[in-house]
């Protein structure tokens, strides 16, 4: 068993490089999805808080639907559904046969949409925690909406939002494992390949778990540091 551990290393026989590359792909898909989710979440939080009625309802329906469907189905829909659409469209232009689409893009979009539904609620909650008087003070000062968002809303909402955003980021990482069904070689897929070709499933699936634990703990640490730094500015007992 211990001899097998060299298979996890970076030597000639080792899967180290492949696993490392796959781990970066995991982080890349998750990061793209999270960024997309943040953009969607910001828009939907705005729509729910003060958007026109049709947009507000759209944001509500989006949230209910995305939180009511299994993540796996969302990815299936985007990957296989996207392929179906692409093939049909290509057929109209005279191309025959199935068209492949990027598993990375389909996965990032699918998880981004799922994450967006969660981030909407996090951001909405953080906005609602802001004392409305501080916004009035900004309005009276003649701030434009953009200045107000940048100088008053975002800095106050961020510390409150960070724990929730951290949760959403952790979820995105874990959901990214589902993108392996598209054939994208991220961590989940790579450990599956390694487990199959070495016939050492325990070793490689356990290694996969460790890789995810490292990614989630390290990035959790980053979030907690950011949280601590953001909170510090509103804490008493620390005048500079």
């Amino acid at each position: 068993m211990w001899d097998d551990l060299t298979l996890l290393g970076f030597g000639a026989m080792g899967w180290g490089h492949a696993l490392f590359t796959a781990a970066t792909t995991t982080v890349a898909v998750s990061a793209c999805a999270f960024a997309l989710g943040l953009a969607i979440g910001t828009l939907c939080a705005w729509a729910k808080l003060s958007g026109p009625a049709p947009l507000r309802r759209l944001a509500e329906v989006y949230g209910v639907v995305l939180r009511g469907i299994p993540d796996l189905l969302v990815i299936y829909l985007f990957y296989f559904g996207g392929r179906q659409v692409a093939t049909t469209v290509a057929g109209l232009f005279g191309h025959h046969g199935p068209v492949e689409i990027s598993g990375f893009a389909a996965g990032a979009i699918a998880i981004g949409l799922i994450s967006g539904a969660g981030q909407t609620e996090v951001l909405r909650g953080a906005y609602q925690a802001i004392s409305p008087g501080t916004l009035e003070a900004a309005k009276v000062g003649g701030m434009t909406r953009w200045t107000m968002f940048r100088r008053i809303i975002a800095p106050q909402a961020l510390p409150t939002a960070l724990p929730g955003l951290n949760n959403q980021w952790q979820s995105a990482i874990k959901e990214s494992a589902l993108v392996s069904v598209t054939g994208l070689v991220e961590t989940m897929r790579e450990v599956g390949i390694a487990a199959g070709s070495t016939e050492l499933p325990f070793l490689f699936y356990a290694a996969g778990i460790v890789i995810y634990l490292i990614i989630t703990s390290l990035s959790g640490l980053v979030f907690r540091t950011a949280e601590w730094r953001a909170m510090r500015s509103q804490m008493p007992a620390r005048a500079r």
Binding site: R67, P70, F80, S180, P201
Partner: protein, 233 residues
């Protein structure tokens, strides 16, 4: 979009519903029991608390899909398992998927229970102590009712979460709603229609569960007459 295809599709997909519901209920029950054990362990000793912490860290920090694969494929690597009495069970994708779902649910549920137990305000407990309640009465009459109300919304989300997570069982060949949908797509190549229909089935289930939990929450909310007062009256 042709209507006959859709009409035929609905009963086909619904034939996977019993398995989906079965997996959900069993994993919540098994997960709940393990979660209670974890909380007992946590209360028991410092070492126990560390073990429970590590368990939660392990199962919440990695993807459920990987946990399913690990439980499904990994035992085959060891000949002593292949030759033991558990092998006939561990070879079954149903057992493996259910086991992974239970273990995963336990990690999340134990945290929900923990947060609930911490919810009882110190003052409420002190009032019970001063009132001469025994520790057991205190637990039964003050701490648990408060914990249950506190934990209910989060547990509602966990129930719907597990319902959705059971779809992962399809990747180890189980024919739940998602499994049947995947098989249907590989035959018909109509991914959008099939997966959308499956999505609607889950959406309806999740909506029903959410509604039920909200009703229960309203029933238990402190602004209503408490249950005990009503039964006493």
């Amino acid at each position: 979009m042709d209507i006959h295809f859709l009409l035929g599709l609905i009963p086909t997909l619904l034939s996977g519903l019993p398995l989906t519901l079965e997996l959900t209920v069993f994993s919540l029950l098994g997960g709940g029991v393990i979660a209670l054990l974890l909380n007992g362990l946590r209360a028991g000793s410092i070492v126990g608390a560390r073990v429970a912490d590590f368990y939660v860290f392990l199962f919440r920090g990695s993807p459920l899909l990987l946990q399913i694969f690990l439980i499904y494929y990994a035992p085959g690597q060891f000949s002593f398992i292949r030759h033991s009495f558990v092998w006939p069970f561990l070879r079954e994708p149903y057992v493996c998927a259910l086991l992974a779902l239970m273990l995963n649910d336990a990690a999340y549920t134990s945290e929900i229970i923990r947060a609930g137990l911490r919810a009882a305000p110190r003052g409420a407990i002190e009032a019970a102590v001063v009132g001469g309640m025994s520790p057991l009465t205190r637990l039964r009459r003050v701490i648990l009712p408060l914990a249950f109300r506190q934990a209910l919304p989060a547990y509602g989300i966990e129930i719907t979460g597990m319902l959705k997570s059971t779809s992962l069982a399809s990747v180890v060949t189980l024919m739940d709603v998602t499994g049947i949908a995947s098989a249907e797509v590989s035959q018909t190549y109509r991914a959008i229609e099939v997966f959308l229909t499956a999505a609607v089935i889950y959406l309806v289930l999740v909506t029903l569960v959410t509604y039920g939990v909200q009703r229960l929450e309203g029933w238990l909310s402190p602004t209503r007459t408490p249950l005990s007062a009503r039964s006493a009256a």
